[in-house]
Subunit: 315 residues, 2 copies
């Protein structure tokens, strides 16, 4: 490999001058600049990025911790981040965590170790307060409402969209609503928000049998419906955590000759267009883009940004 010292030797200039010429930092004569550039071209020299990183102390690499790539939630976030990275000078590295605490700690340590210039947590198993202790080593941004914890955050504000959805259901005369969630209520802020909105319009908490958690895919939606039927849960509406889940459930009812409940989906997926069901767009691409911008911003104040979700009633 050609190094900057090779260029120095061949050109007769010192490595300092070469470095200055390459980085256009000034204090290089036109003669020197031309000569150096010619030799760089001749030897087909490119600076070693690792050496530059060591010298400058930054890698231009942002780590994005995500539990699961399959879920539409993360697919959309990823898209937003990649878009933002595209016209920045940073790269994005995806770090699958599967909600493993040890693994998440490992990634945090990587921040200390300077593997990444910053970290984005799209979801997490660790406590927010633990994440916050790593802020001294570099920017850490989370994609959820951090409440009272002081940590930069970008997240979708779901309350009003959820309320709009339940107002709609109430108006439609829905009485027995079932729910599917990605993660059960105690852990997940999202499911809490849903139940809060539900409570506001229906005044009594939902029966636990009307709730199935760990549902993410079409197939799991299908299975959830099966469970409702098996448990003899009578419902006239299903409030699903994604459009694909909603359509999976629908299929179960169809396959078994049962009446299909009304459906409300989320995430604005193709399947909701197909079935023409209402859905909720959480604009996760925007959340991803802004989280990326925040983590790469020069001055990371303890900012937080809420992106408003939209309830989309088709036709």
């Amino acid at each position: 490999m050609t190094t900057i010292r090779d260029i120095a030797e061949k050109s007769g200039y010192s490595i300092s001058t070469i470095s200055r010429a390459l980085n256009h930092s000034g204090y290089v004569s036109a003669t020197a600049q031309a000569k150096i550039e010619a030799i760089v071209k001749e030897l087909n020299y490119v600076p070693n990025a690792i050496a530059q990183d060591l010298s400058t102390g930054s890698t231009h690499n942002i780590g994005v911790v995500l539990p699961d790539v399959n879920h539409p939630f993360y697919t959309q976030l990823i898209k937003g981040m990649l878009d933002a990275a595209f016209d920045s000078e940073y790269h994005v590295t995806f770090l699958p965590s599967a909600y493993d605490q040890e693994l998440e700690r490992h990634y945090l340590e990587q921040l200390r170790r300077k593997v990444y210039d910053g970290l984005i947590f799209t979801s997490r198993a660790l406590a927010l307060s633990e994440l916050a202790t790593y802020l001294q080593f570099g920017p850490v941004v989370v994609c959820e409402d951090p409440g009272s914890i002081k940590i930069p955050a970008v997240f979708s504000y779901r309350e009003s969209a959820y309320q709009a959805a339940f107002a709609y259901l109430k108006k439609k005369g829905a009485r027995h609503i079932a729910f599917t969630f990605s993660r059960p209520e105690p852990i997940s802020a999202t499911s809490k928000a849903v139940m809060r909105a539900y409570l506001k319009y229906y005044c009594v908490p939902a029966d636990q049998r009307n709730i199935v958690a760990y549902v993410n895919t079409y197939q799991e939606g299908y299975d959830a419906a099966q469970q409702f039927v098996k448990d003899n849960v009578m419902i006239d509406y299903l409030f699903a955590n994604s459009d694909d889940v909603a359509t999976g459930a629908r299929q179960y009812y169809l396959d078994h000759g049962l009446p299909v409940p009304g459906l409300v989906g989320q995430e604005y997926q193709v399947s909701s267009m197909l079935l023409n069901i209402p859905t909720i767009d959480h604009h996760l691409d925007v959340v991803g883009r802004e989280a990326f911008r925040m983590v790469t911003a020069q001055h990371l104040a303890t900012t937080r940004l809420a992106v408003q979700s939209d309830f989309i009633l088709r036709q």
Copy 2:
């Protein structure tokens, strides 16, 4: 930041011994090991990864060049790669290219610059021969059949599945088939393979008006159908490049009260389950996984691996 020299100073041992102790490279007494470990813990020391990278010359980072994150093709590939990366010591960085040649060259240069230990090209705008010239700087794996070009490759072998599909269509009595593609025929090997299989069963090349390219999403499928109708193209079957595209097209016909043609999708998406249409599974997660394994393999022979696609006839 605590450095290895701090540990050396505090422990009374030399940095060589510290390094050996940390890496368990032997030649360290039990006494020294214990003392060093204690001090490492006390000072909460973690080695700087960039310095290690510079010293060892590798970053444990694999770059994955992809034109588009949205397309199911890449979504599935990504999933496979992340799965493989998960239990390896490597990270994955996604490099969006939008089929920009300059950008792709830039990424290749990053390989020379040691930003990545290896590159995977899921698709590309550059000539394979140009990619191959970078093999001297590190492993480069492509996700397509490279033909006579000597470059490591992992790709789906589609011929037999396509043939099965057209055999099925022929048997069903399909006469006028339309096609959608992600990229038009001259560029894309995939579309060439489709047309080859079609020709085998239908003996005459398809009418150009029956082909629409640059179709990837539900909406673009909808638009493609519109174009067929506008061009007065009569079809009894649509051979789409993804299930979502097929369902988008279907919707157009429905929306306009037109008879819906028979559909064949690809990529085994949720929408094909929903509509119960035949599809083709290209097992792109496997392709992604194997590509990742290949690029991180110790000895990168000029290997190639073909993963067989499956025609899936539902029910």
